[in-house]
Symmetry: C4
Subunit: 370 residues, 4 copies
């Protein structure tokens, strides 16, 4: 029997799926499941490979049910059962596990019931990298965004009634009621313009032209608001991420809070996987790096120098020699702070003591490497 | 008889509708009225429920007439009769009350006359949250926006004459006159592209391609202008709102104007209704709050601490402990000033005396709660 | 005979048209001319009023020829004949005056020749308010804008060849050659989407989907570049306009250049025609004004106070009393500097001596008005 | 025989093509090649001039093969053979040289094989001016951009399944499968709107309206992100370019690093070809220039003054006299630093010693020219 073998695999699954939001298996299952659901709707393609498609769909469903049960158990053990159940992730997990079976039980046609497999794509949401940032922008700017939406809807309503009045005698088929005219107004104001419903009277066309130009305006306002919000959010995010790291680098530790705030605004945080080449010998560069966490290896002729937390490299680029002299590769997962040439010079001007430290170290290394 | 009952209700209505821009009843009436007007235009749907639709429409109209009369009386009592009558709100109220009855009296078909009920949506305008802000942006940037509009119109005219010249022999039906070509040009330059009028000669298509690319340019300019104006307006608005509040918080009162200007640029104002959870125990946070007005309750184990005007909370998050230790809920309508972690650190650098006060209070509270 | 009457009118015209770019008459002539040219192309409408249309067109043409000759004479008198002739304005004037007559002389059909009247709209260009600003943005950002245009064209070419390859067997009518596919690509990449040429093979549709998404990207880049350029240009423009004015206001004259630069960044310049109400009694306000040029009248009870160059008003709004106490109206064309509440407070913090002057003057006025 | 003549020409070609990315010949070859490839696909046009088209295509191909071989030899000589081969430029060169011949050898129809000539346009990529800048923006903002793309794809999938469910019974032809609905969703969400597939059920249209409005949102987010990134990149780029130049101008050399950083943020670098008129006598100007490299000639009455590295001109415009007093023309390729009036005044305020130097020099020149 397979059970003795299946169990340890399951146990591993349990620990893997319980903690993290999305395992690699889950990504595969979502992709496969949605792909098969798509095939299901293509008549001839499905008929050719019906058994395989059904098998994959059931497998994916089984996986998601299993994942959901594991998470429920895990959360109950930590006393966060209801917290999880009512959270966004919990609801998505439940919907992914239950929607299709419930539809099938309710007697819905299988081909239709399996369409609910599309809910599985919602599981990807928490894994989207910049989502939190986007949501903050939308929340911060919700006031003006809603204003624009209300204006959008008002223009849609006013335009569609005007257009209905002007066109419904000439085109009773397409402008026969206000809802039909509303459809036209949304299609036009978003500048989609299908062309299935088009005004033909001169006055109707003048109203339509004004609606299209308003469409550009709505677009512009919308974008302007989001651009403003995004710029503010980006500044905030960078600062937060970098402050944490800077205060952990010994090099900056003896600076006062004013100077740290200054330095923080100049550095950018970068996280790199192991065995990533940061600097390639012979290329030109315009930034230096501080190791905030992890370790990097400098490939000097004949030997390898390991640099750990608090060390820096690439400073030659800022002191006149823009051609990189050696390969630098991460040996572990590393968090680096990047200082651009631009900011190095501003920093040099405001905190000469820092610049001297870098300068001295650079000269020491140059001597050593000769 | 119902009169004795109706009168106090009316009296309450009078006071409610006279002062504020939009009562909840008015929103309901607008929504219902526009919905019924829409139903009116759908032949079969209307025939099924004609009586109900008519009744609701007349009711809404009666409400708006009543509201208008109440406001007129209210304004006359305060000697602002003509000021109100000629203001935007007064004109909209008058139009909403009179347009449909006048059209019916003038002998317009009822189905057509009721279309004027769409004017009721204009009553929503003053209630749009960020409208004042949007209008300021449009006014401030009106110069460049009008320039772009003039350029837009010039491109439209030049393109349509060119296209008429190139296409009217081949497609006399669609490009038979310059106005027809103007329709094409607007549809194309706004990138709507219905497809009802499409150039088919090679030269005509080259002109059209240039018009489309210009369309992108017009779009970009428009958006760029609005984005710039919006960024400036947002900065201004935040500053104004916050300055008022900051100077009312005792905590900041003994700072000089330079420091207040500094602090003001870092704080954000938030208005919250009663019984809103500001901080949820166990979540992580990166900001602290000052109570500018109203009151909040901190849910400590065993007791509830009420914090009124001038107090602050959530400061632990800024001092290393990002996990929130207690629920905080508003007890009344409260205006809070939010200080982000980012700005707290900049503030700490520039005004160490403020940071020390926060630090001392935080330590006092920690001792107290042990 | 009419000559003795016509001559002084002409003489006045000469002086009016020679100096300025566009007289009011010229605007009327452009509008009428283009409108009549439009009517000319509408068969039935033209037939009904052919004589009138022709008369107006010839009149407009006569005006533009006359205007051109007057300007030529004017410029020759100042020795700038060739400078004018080869400038944009000179070329447009020449084209407006000569294009239609030359076409008629060359034997072109009158209906076609008069289409060249569209060139008259180009005369409007120098009168567009923010044009110089827009041109500066386009010049400053020309590098990245051209890059995006080149990328746009490359995507168009690559996509159209791919689409031609994939579709020309299935749709020989619409995708029969690369130029036909190019038409499709431009229509799609600008998201216009006429729908006259649509890929139908699965692979063709995938390529098309990628083109559409690239279209969004191109759009976004374009807008981002223009928004950035526009923000920089707006800052620069405001500064320049205000600096000139600030240094002419005695109130600021005794400040050092550092303080003037500071003040300049806070003020906004506004030019107003005579008899414009700047402040309306009883409204609320959040800014004060300096008179940089011209004069304003303050409508106090019983008397009118005139404020000339260097004076300020509306300062009560910044000192706690936001309700305006009197109407203020311009008596001549006036240039005002606007100081927002936001900036007044920052100014107060940085230059307390200025704030004191304003404060003292405000208190003096308050006493006077009691 | 032609060989003795051909060889020196080839030798010159070799040196020209090996070093630079794109010679003028290469641009001509790309343009001609792609144009001829386009003609090839137009049946009647090709038949008329088939021999010429073929000849040009083969010639272009020959040129690209030759260019590739020359570069390979050149790179092998410098030991960078594999570096080049695996770089983007190397791959593009190889594809341009080999794609068409290999396709022909593989027995593909000539008309189809020559379509691969479109790959030649990729050679233009490294020559695009602002490309490096655009790439940096895309890399820096890749996080949020990918988020928006993922959200875009999720909306596309959810909408297309919903639309398939709602429409496939009514319109089996166009909404017959999820892939068909996906096509509709992409066409709609990008606001392209061909109109070949349009929902007709009421619910389907409501879903479609929401998709269109989401399209505006996606657009806005995308643009907002790119605008933010672009603004940051522009600042950085200007600073870097200018710093290098400023430190080479003797005039600024004796400033400390803080002042240089200050000055750098105010100057703009401009590179000009020889014989370019920088200042035209009699026009008005609002900036002054420093010569960072090269030389310019000032056309004074009776004599020509040459100004080399480190000199400045146009300073009168900043000292009150905005009318330019003389033509200034570059004599060699020149790199100029432009100082706007705006920034000159800020600079004057912060570094009075610099302003005095400019002032003194200006007065000296004025005396000299009298």
């Amino acid at each position: 029997m397979a059970k003795p073998l299946v169990f340890p695999v399951l146990a591993q699954f349990v620990s893997a799926t319980a903690g993290r939001n999305m395992t690699r298996t889950a990504y595969v299952a979502v992709t496969l499941g949605v792909a098969m659901m798509t095939v299901l709707t293509i008549g001839p393609a499905y008929d050719a490979v019906a058994h395989w498609v059904d098998a994959v769909l059931w497998l994916c469903l089984a996986y998601f049910v299993f994942e959901w049960l594991v998470r429920l158990r895990h959360m109950r053990q930590r006393g966060r059962f209801w917290f999880y159940q009512l959270s966004g992730a919990g609801l998505v997990d439940a919907a992914g596990a239950l929607a299709v079976p419930l539809a099938l039980l309710a007697g819905v046609q299988p081909k239709t019931a399996w369409l609910l497999a599309i809910l599985w794509v919602l599981k990807v949401v928490p894994g989207i990298p910049g989502l939190r940032q986007l949501r903050r922008v939308l929340v911060q700017e919700s006031g003006p965004l809603i204003s624009v939406l209300v204006i959008f809807l008002m223009v849609v309503f006013l335009a569609s009634v005007a257009e209905y009045f002007l066109e419904h005698d000439v085109q009773p088929q397409t402008f026969g009621s206000v809802p039909a005219a509303l459809w036209w107004a949304v299609v036009t104001l978003t500048t989609t313009g299908y062309g299935d419903v088009v005004p033909i009277t001169p006055l109707g066309r003048i109203v339509a032209a004004m609606v299209m130009i308003s469409g550009l305006g709505v677009f512009g306002l919308w974008t302007g608001i989001l651009a403003t919000g995004f710029a503010a959010e980006t500044r905030r995010d960078n600062f937060l991420k970098t402050w944490e790291t800077v205060s952990n680098v010994p090099f900056f530790a003896n600076l006062g809070p004013a100077a740290i705030a200054d330095v923080t605004q100049m550095l950018r945080t970068v996280d790199l996987p192991p065995r990533t080449t940061i600097i390639r010998k012979g290329t030109s560069g315009d930034c230096m790096y501080f190791v905030a966490a992890g370790e990097v290896a400098v490939d000097l002729p004949g030997r390898k120098v390991l640099l750990g937390e608090g060390h820096f490299f690439g400073e030659m680029a800022l002191l006149g020699n823009t051609m990189r002299g050696a390969d630098v590769i991460t040996t572990k997962v590393a968090r680096l702070l990047v200082l651009d040439l631009v900011d190095f010079r501003l920093l040099m001007a405001r905190h000469p003591e820092l610049a001297e430290t870098i300068d001295a170290e650079a000269r020491r290394r140059q001597l050593e490497n000769q």
